[in-house]
C-alpha cells in the first residue's frame, strides 16, 4: 500500500501483475499518452490517459474485475 494524498493505493510488483492477469482476469490500464501506448504497452493493456479517467472514459472497464494501472515508472 502507498499513500497518495489522503488515499491508500494497493501497489503491486511485476509478478503480482502477471498473477492478477493470469488468475483473476485483471484489466491493465496504461495512463500514458496515446503515442507512448502505441509504441509499446503491456500485452492486453488498454490506454486511458490520466485526463480521460472519468465516468465516460472508463465505461469500457469491467468493475467486477481487478484493474492494474501503470505509467512509465512511478505515477
Amino acid at each position: 500500500m502507498r499513500r497518495v494524498g489522503n488515499r491508500l493505493l494497493r501497489t503491486v510488483d511485476r509478478e503480482g501483475v502477471r498473477r492478477l492477469v493470469r488468475e483473476e482476469g485483471a484489466q491493465l490500464v496504461e495512463v500514458l499518452s496515446p503515442n507512448a501506448y502505441a509504441a509499446l504497452h503491456l500485452p492486453g493493456a488498454v490506454n486511458i490517459p490520466l485526463e480521460d479517467i472519468h465516468e465516460e472514459g472508463t465505461r469500457e472497464l469491467d468493475r467486477s474485475l481487478p484493474i492494474v494501472v501503470y505509467c512509465y515508472d512511478d505515477l
Binding site: 501497489t11 503480482g16 492494474v68 515508472d73 505515477l75
Partner: protein
C-alpha cells in the same frame, strides 16, 4: 487515483511501471514491439556455475571448445562474474570459482536496440555480451556474429 473515486473497488498500482516490464524482457505489444532487441537474439543456454563451486566440476561439465567461459551466478541468477576457459585450464580442480573468476563483466538490458548492443560489445573488446535485468539477473548471452547475421538477413 480517481478510479476509486469512480467506484472501482479493485484497483492496483503497478508502481514500477512499463520501464520495469521492458527491462525484464517480458513480451510487449505495440508498433515497436516487433523490433528485434538484445534478448531476442541472445543464447539462453549459456552455462552457469555458482561462486562457491569449484573449478574442477565446472571444467568437467563443459564440452571442450564448446564455451569459452561459464557465467558465475548465485541462487537468484544474479551475475557475479565469469569463469574463463583460461582460468579453468590453469587452476586446480579444488580452487573456488569465486577466487579465480573475472569480476564485473559488461552487460546490457534485454530491450537494448541491436545497434546499441554492438557498440557495447565493441567497447567491451570481446565478441559477446551478457544480457541481464537491471538487477543483474542473467537472461542470456548475445554474440556479435548473431547480431550481424540478423542485420544481414533483415536487409535482404
Amino acid at each position: 487515483m480517481r478510479l476509486d473515486a469512480l467506484g472501482f473497488e479493485h484497483v492496483f498500482d503497478y508502481v514500477d511501471g512499463k520501464k520495469d516490464w521492458i527491462a525484464s524482457g517480458l513480451p510487449l505489444e505495440g508498433a515497436r514491439s516487433g523490433q528485434k532487441r538484445a534478448l531476442d537474439l541472445a543464447r539462453t543456454d549459456v552455462p552457469t556455475c555458482h561462486p562457491d563451486g569449484h573449478v574442477g566440476p565446472v571444467r568437467d561439465r563443459l564440452e571442450p571448445g564448446s564455451w569459452r567461459f561459464c557465467v558465475v551466478v548465485d541462487e537468484d541468477r544474479v551475475v557475479h562474474g565469469i569463469l574463463t576457459d583460461e582460468a579453468m585450464a590453469s587452476n586446480a580442480a579444488n580452487i573456488r570459482v569465486a577466487d579465480v573468476m573475472e569480476l564485473g563483466p559488461s552487460t546490457i538490458r534485454p530491450r537494448s536496440p541491436l545497434e546499441t548492443a554492438l557498440e557495447h560489445i565493441d567497447d567491451a573488446g570481446g565478441d559477446s555480451i551478457l544480457v541481464t535485468t537491471e538487477f543483474g539477473e542473467l537472461l542470456g548471452l548475445l554474440y556479435r556474429a548473431d547480431v550481424e547475421a540478423h542485420v544481414e538477413t533483415a536487409s535482404d
